[in-house]
Symmetry: C2
Subunit: 490 residues, 2 copies
């Protein structure tokens, strides 16, 4: 009988409680720290269990976009109009079918307050815009487009506004660190100033339950099992499942062999421990996808698939290009660019110089390039013919690339082989409500159990925007802390 | 406290057992009847609980393909070579990343024996081949291609062999019925001759458990709750979740508003009851997709997406066209055909005359047709130019359509608007092992709990072939019955 490995343990079977707090939080990344601050401010005694030896989680290694909008002070200072409704319209279009409309509406309506909360807890945003194609700002600009808001088809759905808010990356004590680190640092300092206790090198293993209520967790500390009692609630903030081979194969197989932007601790343990108690999951197949192409070059060239056909708006959010490539083009992509555009792109600044490799093929004509790339004769030539015909008029009726990036490809041409150039992390996880209560498969909340961050299905249930993970992790982390500290029994 | 709606009930809380059997099977479709026969032959007392008032489930309404191969007597009689290895190579390629390789290998190796078992239990297959494009044979031919085995890219991966086995649709007592009905009927008669008891109008609600073991089910009969004890094992054979709006939205949102080929009883209850006890699921996003195009016309024409680009081998299994359209082309499809091909197609027989509607647009030239269809000038014209250039040589380097269907489109042309012309059912469900034991999220089998059919993730975890559902439902239904009747405790 070994099925008990992840099974919840009845409280009655616990001989000794090694630790006790009102609110017990598993995981000290962005969701965990946000939950801790709110729970502590609500008067709860808070204990964070973190399996590594320091705070940060995946968040501290992230570029640092936090997806915020609705007219934040930073947006307004930089001249952008936005509203909760406008942000909601965009997100509903960008995340695709199956969107959690209630969660998106809630997230957008709460965004201004959430911005103030972050700033109030010491998160700095520099009043500068980065308005060029790119994965991230190349310096410490505080605001950038991070989801294709200003590209087709979304620029016709909602009024474009940049919503990628990046914490300032300079600090007189630490020198220069990534935006995610600079988000985590003041929040961790805030939490600890509020008296939040942290126990490091402690790894969640199972939930402890009393009937239908979660009352604590079992965990391992230096190889020894400990029982931790939560008087009011348990918050799971343990991250995603990018590094569980079984879960990736069963739920998000497009990511097999290509985990990205996650940490090895993202092994799905929080999701497993909760589903072992009947918790529901949602959108386990959804994934963020990074694409290893240079955005400045992509905007100036054309992306074609294994048949030499264009398939995506080249001037959009590169994560959208990654999804289009991995999900819909069998991970086959080539970037075709002419010499002039290539030189222009090389003259721009970039946050990802690693993608500025020499082209795979270069040729005097499109016909030669096509042959060199191994495409059937005419496949690429007709694609370029159609593109050029319209580009000369400043039009792209097929994919809606903006006029500023449209110019016929002429003269010497080159192509980058971007087949297989993707990686990503899963977006699915536990199904939670607006108070971050973990929902049972029956649809009812599980008393005493809360979750936030990438162990939950957040606002991005299909498409993705950069900043959504730090965004919903912090937003619903706060909700989890507030709700857990209330400790109401249904 | 209402989270208990689907929660397992401790056996100790059951005051009265209303029914008892060795093996209790929920659902009397193909998986249930197959489990019942094997359990009864193993000497177990078997009770089937069926929520409708008759046997059949979705199976009895299905066209009736059973996916079998490896050199069945029917394949050999009709001149086809096949082997378990060849079948396995095809299936691994056709179902895509995340395939359950062990299950596919097992299924292929067991296919000959499974064919004999079906025939031995009275399932008749007529020795005739249907070798034309089509969803199903138009008469009662017993064998047809049902997964694109003889089309690109699979015809280069494995030696093409038809594996869609269709039970003979004539019966002197019932006249003509569908293949699925003619599959179910002899099996149901066999089960009942073996003494299997059936209780109709009884709906599974929850599992009854003793520690980590499943020992029975709660069910509703005419509005009253009954407790049914299973001395050896419970088999879930309750079908998929096409008709659970919540589950479709959370797991397979591409099917929102377009459920197909399923019955309303497919509300996911078996999946929910088991996951409430910690059962694992897999591939909940995977879906079969039907496409409302005429296969004879598609093979003779070209399918283009919303940009006027070809995107799929037109002479392949139409379910593969459906998946390509819904998953990868935003459900945008047009069929373009010339007058000669249209007339040839109309002269063929079809099992789906409902798709033989008049074209949406007809024009003297491709340029005119392109304009009528609302496509940007040149988009369709260049597609036809490339297609025709190669078709004249009997080639299709882009998608590999077979030479027999390649001819340049000339003269008057027409197009069918097939945007949104898809429907489907989910393929994901409970994760089971080769003995149809339901696996806990820990990876270990849940003692006493077995499952088969569309409440489980079967052999098709991404791509689909017609006959896979009746195929793995019957194959793993048998395994469930055998394993449950053994009643071994881990």
């Amino acid at each position: 009988m070994t099925a008990g490995k992840l099974r919840p343990v009845p409280a009655a079977a616990i001989a000794e409680w090694h630790e006790t707090a009102d609110v017990v939080i598993a995981g000290y990344g962005i969701a965990g720290v946000s939950a801790a601050i709110e729970a502590a401010r609500s008067g709860a005694q808070v204990l964070i269990l973190e399996r590594t030896s320091g705070w940060g989680g995946a968040a501290a290694l992230a570029g640092g976009f936090v997806y915020l909008g609705g007219g934040t002070p930073l947006q307004r200072a930089l001249g952008f109009e936005d509203s909760a409704e406008n942000m909601e319209k965009f997100l509903l279009a960008a995340v695709g079918p199956g969107a959690d409309a209630a969660k998106i509406a809630d997230y957008c309506r709460g965004s201004l307050e959430h911005y103030d909360w972050l700033v109030g807890n010491g998160v700095p945003f520099r009043e500068a815009l980065w308005d060029e194609p790119g994965w991230e700002p190349p310096h410490d600009e505080g605001l950038a487009y991070s989801g294709g808001e200003n590209a087709a088809p979304f620029n016709a759905v909602a009024s474009p506004a940049p919503r990628g808010h990046v914490p300032r990356m300079r600090d007189k004590r630490t020198g220069e660190r990534g935006g995610g680190y600079m988000l985590m640092k003041p929040l961790a300092e805030t939490a600890e100033a509020l008296g939040v206790r942290v126990s490091y090198d402690v790894r969640l293993t199972r939930l402890i339950v009393d009937g239908e209520r979660v009352v604590g967790v079992l965990a391992r500390r230096y190889g020894r099992e400990i029982a931790v009692r939560a008087e009011l609630g348990v918050v799971l903030a343990t991250g995603g499942f990018a590094y569980s081979e079984q879960m990736v194969a069963d739920h998000a197989p497009r990511l097999i062999g290509r985990p990205g932007a996650a940490i090895e601790e993202h092994d799905g343990v929080g999701i497993l421990a909760a589903t072992a108690f009947g918790a529901a999951t949602a959108h386990m197949d959804a994934t963020e996808v990074a694409f290893f192409g240079d955005p400045q070059m992509m905007a100036r060239g054309i992306l074609v698939n294994g048949q030499g056909q264009r398939y995506v708006t080249e001037d959009t959010y590169p994560g959208r290009i990654g999804q289009a490539t991995l999900f819909h083009q069998d991970n086959q992509a080539f970037l075709v660019i002419d010499e002039q555009a290539h030189e222009e792109a090389l003259a721009t600044e970039t946050a990802t110089p690693v993608f500025r490799v020499p082209p795979t093929w270069a040729a005097e004509t499109v016909a030669e390039l096509e042959a060199d790339m191994g495409l059937p004769e005419l496949a690429l030539q007709t694609t370029v013919e159609v593109y050029n015909t319209y580009a000369a008029q400043g039009l792209d009726p097929l994919f809606g690339k903006k006029p500023e990036w449209l110019r016929p490809l002429t003269g010497a041409v080159a192509a980058f082989d971007l087949r297989g150039a993707t990686a990503g992390f899963p977006l699915g996880g536990l199904r939670t409500d607006l108070d971050s209560r973990v929902l049972h498969v029956s649809g009812e909340p599980i008393p005493g159990l809360f979750a936030a961050g990438r162990c939950t299905a957040g606002i991005c249930t299909g498409g993705y925007v950069s900043g959504a993970s730090l965004g919903d992790g912090s937003f619903y982390g706060r909700r989890a802390g507030l709700a857990a500290a209330k400790g109401e029994v249904e």
